[in-house]
Symmetry: C2
Subunit: 344 residues, 2 copies
């Protein structure tokens, strides 16, 4: 369909573009006779003032950007899908859309911010995967760009609750602490932790939760702390080392690691009948194989991120209460009885 434009409409009516603009935006400035004639023509023509026209007045696109993080082994893909879905829904309720983009690195992500701000006039961003020395938050703060992060700012010196930027996070350490305590209550005294290499904020936080529970119960941790890249194969290898060190149970930083660890423990410790591996993220894979796992309230996190961001973008004039700028949500532990999947 050939859309009626401001130009074509002005030509056919023999009025100026400014007059048409006034009829739409400041009708009191236009003589009633002209106003009625233009309004009627607008209705008949199907002309709708475009976003572009409105953006020139308000400089707002009602669009928020979010980077699609790379697909790793797919196990966490369903969590990202839930997060993105909840973000989209919450944003839409507040009149915003999400714009997706890809980036190879933080530096590339910053380059994308610049382009999205300058070319697409995005209003703000949702950040994920915050980490130590995060250049992205620094850049966004320096450039006064509205954003909210899923993930607290990781710093050894700064208290995240005094951070200059908004964030929502889940208390992963509380989750692994709870998981470790459960295993201690079940009678385990040698519980290993299988997590990512030291230096990732979320990973170190999950490790610290395991360590707190072990120290609290006065249990030794020597040799029971394994650093591994994420993945099922790495989980199996790590579990092998933990069993050699005497572990009878394992708390993991992810369900991918847990899946590999569970298969390995089943093989090395076949006499154990109770679940002895606990994962993180409560993915469909954990549900499928009957793996207990720490569950993040991912939809709550998404909704709060949008609330904080849109409240800020409205200049506080959205009529709602001011959402907390820094919010740490509690995870829960999903306990499962293992299914039997041999010989499917």
């Amino acid at each position: 369909m050939a859309k009626a434009t401001l130009v074509s409409l002005a030509e056919s009516l023999g009025v100026s573009r400014q007059t048409i603009s006034n009829v739409i935006n400041a009708p009191h400035r236009v003589k009633p006779e002209t106003r009625l004639r233009v309004q009627s023509a607008i209705e008949q023509s199907g002309y709708r003032p475009s976003a572009a026209g409105r953006q020139l007045r308000t400089r707002r696109s009602m669009n928020l950007g979010i980077r699609m993080m790379p697909v790793v082994d797919g196990i966490n893909g369903s969590i990202l899908d839930r997060f993105l879905h909840a973000l989209t829904e919450a944003a839409q309720q507040d009149g915003y859309r999400l714009t997706l983009f890809c980036a190879d690195s933080d530096a590339d992500e910053i380059g994308q911010y610049e382009e999205l701000l300058n070319v697409a006039d995005l209003d703000g961003f949702v950040l994920t995967g915050t980490h130590y020395g995060d250049d992205r938050t620094a850049w966004l703060l320096d450039n006064d760009v509205p954003f909210a992060a899923f993930g607290r700012p990781w710093s050894s010196i700064e208290d995240p609750f005094t951070s200059r930027h908004a964030w929502v996070d889940v208390d992963g350490g509380a989750g692994t602490e709870q998981a470790t305590r459960l295993l201690i209550e079940q009678g385990h005294t040698s519980i290993g932790f299988l997590g990512w290499p030291v230096g990732s904020g979320a990973g170190d936080d999950r490790r610290a939760g395991w360590r707190r529970a072990m120290h609290h119960a006065r249990l030794a941790t020597k040799g029971l702390d394994i650093q591994a890249d994420d993945g099922v194969a790495a989980g199996a290898l790590g579990a092998e080392r933990l069993v050699e060190a005497g572990a009878t149970a394992v708390v993991c930083a992810s369900d991918s690691l847990a899946l590999g660890a569970a298969a390995k423990l089943r093989q090395l410790l076949p006499e154990q009948k109770t679940p002895v591996v606990i994962g993180f993220d409560d993915t469909p894979v954990a549900a499928a194989v009957g793996l207990s796992s720490v569950a993040q309230p991912i939809e709550d996190a998404a909704r709060h991120i949008i609330a904080v961001l849109t409240h800020h973008l409205s200049g506080g004039r959205d009529g709602g209460d001011k959402p907390r700028k820094h919010l740490l949500l509690e995870p829960t532990l999903t306990q499962r009885t293992p299914y039997s999947f041999s010989s499917i």
Copy 2:
């Protein structure tokens, strides 16, 4: 940061806005002296012509819309994540972004199209979940809106390869046919099909593939065709009925159904040592429990959808070959040896 605008720049330079616009868009129209002065001021001011300004000239947002389909049981979430990631990446390479939206129904989705076209000036859409009597494709065609569908048009009378709109699909029936043949080669003569209620295009197509393989091998299908809503529990129930009807193996329309069916068959037919359930979509769950599954080339599908859409949007002037308007991709069968996951 206070952005320099067209207005502020024109005022500070004492030139008209049209002059600045000409310097950017039609520099040959501006006297060299003025041009240099304006260009230098533009550089110093950090002024960048906004998307809004460009949109008024070209009426293009370089944005494509896609509806986030509802999260069901999460097992398929990782596939959607892969699809969305591949779409975003391919679109970005062609200079487009993806805009996400939610909708409760097809009618709601059409309402969103209208809003996204009129308010956000979207250039086109990617459709998923095509089905019989799809109002969405009809509306988009009637309104001459560029789009491409992941999913062929389902109709009992129309040949999808003569469809007026672009689509990419995976030949699901070829996948279930291949799966059924594998089970026949393994010696099974009573193979059940566990799929969605008749009336969904993709579901009926997968059912037809199973039926073709059974007929080709002159095997009976009576009582072996079960219709169930998607999900693990429904899969277990359906498998129970299939075993009662004499089935020793099951081909499923999804990994969710297959997961439930596998657990049930393991319980009812413990003497079987070989894999006897084959799923669809090759999700991480299938990989985790050692379930064979039909794998869709989801990244290829996403890339072709973007290619077809951006080629069309460029008016064929993108310099590339014209991508096929209708493309049916072949799935592959991922065969797995089942892991043993009892007593994790």
